[in-house]
Symmetry: C2
Subunit: 341 residues, 2 copies
DNA sequence: TTGTAGGCGTTATCAT
DNA sequence: ATGATAACGCCTACAA
């Protein structure tokens, strides 16, 4: 009976281990471990004994030890630019739900739209030996690319599209969204277009898509207001104010998000401008409120839950060695015409 | 040179360990470990050598092993009923930010407003040996209380108030919120009150507060519509519809959230009811849009970021052995009068 | 179906 | 300031 506590553990009783359960059940630790991880490999009686012993000892498995030994952590790290963002939050919720469904826990980190911060975060989370990683977007620092590739972990990039992802991807083409919006506005006969745009990378790509297609149609972009993140309703209001106060003439504004669009609509109402007669407003995202505002907001709908669910499933499948049908999944988008255009 | 791979590891190179770094640097693993965790205990030259060796080997620490040995995981588990909820999401964002600031990672789990699910989740997360836990609300299953108390982990309950928390708490009194709302509505002279209320526990307590105080003032509650979670704008609309279509007469509706209130206001507008002249509408939460809608929404403001920041700091402080001034923190609330009442 | 032996990668402790 | 040793609690591999 040699003392086992080399660690300082003043007064506290150690929490029970597999060994304690095994002793209680009159079995070996290995059998208890098996019972927990592969119950079908032990006979019914053993299973009973172990269950009892677990209850009577109050055993709580230690996944740090388990993960260390098995090299599987059942942990997925998720990196998003921002949690409290109407678009990402639904994806995160879906990720959390579906990962839980598949038996994984979610480590959630916020990169704040910065590739440098993202790189730091990725280094840090690799220390936890996650079984997989979800990254937002496809713009990463070279350092982080190197690190994560050499980790050989399953990775899913979300919310963007490229034929050459780090590993797997679920998203859509922001450029095509921009193209489609511009086509649509042209089709509706709007001639002079203003933009209210948030300063984030993916939005910038949508903007490029808009501008390219407007150009093709020889349409004028009157002016573009850039608003710092996060894009709020008030910034939509002040964005439209700036456009108007600068004396620009335009018959439509395209906004990088529904939130900005709602702000613009409110500001228009305040100034007695009728939407869409005097000014059309186009959004992006199809948020909850967009169909209910007066006028309702024309927008582009993204299935944000699908992004999360697919990402979770692709990761789980790959981790579990299942064959994947596709490694790059374009979930597309849909332009929804409403009253504001 | 005995072979070290008893584990199956087909073809892959093992990721470098402390020992590899140590060999490269001509030091012992222990010194490398020290360099990483207590750099001030090693001399400058050693620090240099270790840094180089880490870069040249591409070493990534293994926190599973580290946590197992040190009994510290630098991991905080957070349990919320729902992530994509306008109220919680800001708290989660604040938690994430502040925990990162303090050197912790956040494991985020969703309980879906169910104490049973919460109990399951807590059991599961304890397996990861977090250094602390954040729980939403004060209603827990007896099982889970027993389990988490016997774990002796630092715990912060958030978004509610009780003099007897499991451990620590940051929140406010939902009952007092209800009282204050009712007082206010009485003071404004409203006589017949309708309710549109989401089915969640904390909202139920606010409702009790409202009803109690309305009673004191001998005010009538005309009718109450119960809407299932999640509370959306459309449910606010249909909630008001139900109240009106049932033929109830009332001069004000109190809603359990700003989202429902916005829905009610939109429905009122559709029916040609003027807010607040024909019908006053009261919300809860002071969401981003509430001050911008037309009319703007009277509501109760909660500092949802503070909840997250304080919870993160209280946990970190306790984990790090710092003295806490208070273990129960009431962050209060503020009634904000706007145009809708 | 169950058990034995040894290692997973790190840190606490004590010695130098 | 650095190192040797023995855990930490579990799982893989193999033996019985």
């Amino acid at each position: 009976m040699k003392a086992k506590n080399t660690h300082k553990n003043p007064g506290k009783v150690k929490s029970p281990t597999l060994e304690d359960v095994a002793r209680q059940a009159g079995l070996s630790p290995m059998t208890v471990s098996r019972t927990l991880n592969n119950p079908h490999l032990v006979r019914a009686l053993t299973l009973e004994k172990v269950k009892e012993a677990i209850v009577s000892t109050g055993y709580i498995p230690n996944l740090l030890a388990g993960g260390l030994a098995s090299r599987r952590s059942k942990l997925i790290a998720v990196v998003v630019p921002q949690i409290n963002n109407n678009m990402f939050v639904d994806t995160v919720q879906a990720l959390s739900d579906q990962l839980a469904e598949r038996g994984y826990h979610m480590l959630l980190c916020v990169s704040g739209y910065s590739p440098e911060r993202e790189a730091e975060i990725v280094s840090a989370i690799l220390s936890r030996r996650p079984d997989g990683v979800v990254l937002t977007g496809i713009q990463h620092s070279p350092d982080m690319k190197r690190i994560i590739l050499s980790s050989e972990l399953p990775v899913v990039e979300i919310w963007d599209l490229t034929p050459t992802p780090l590993d797997m991807l679920v998203g859509f083409s922001h450029e095509k969204v921009g193209n489609k919006i511009a086509h649509y506005m042209h089709g509706k006969g709007y001639k002079k277009i203003g933009l209210i745009w948030a300063e984030d990378n993916r939005a910038a790509v949508r903007k490029k898509g808009v501008l390219d297609t407007l150009d093709e149609h020889k349409l004028k972009t009157v002016a573009s207001i850039s608003v710092p993140l996060p894009a709020t309703l008030s910034k939509g209001r002040s964005g439209l104010s700036q456009l108007l106060d600068a004396g620009h003439e335009f018959d439509a504004v395209i906004c990088s998000s529904d939130t900005l669009a709602q702000g613009a609509i409110i500001e228009a109402a305040h100034r007695g401008l009728r939407v869409p007669q005097d000014l059309a407003v186009m959004g992006f995202g199809d948020l909850d409120f967009s169909q209910h505002t007066v006028p309702s907001i024309s927008t582009v709908q993204i299935d944000r839950w699908r992004v999360g669910i697919d990402a979770a499933n692709m990761l789980s499948d790959k981790i579990e060695g299942k064959k994947l049908n596709d490694t790059v999944r374009d979930i597309g988008f849909e332009l929804i015409e409403r009253e504001s255009t």
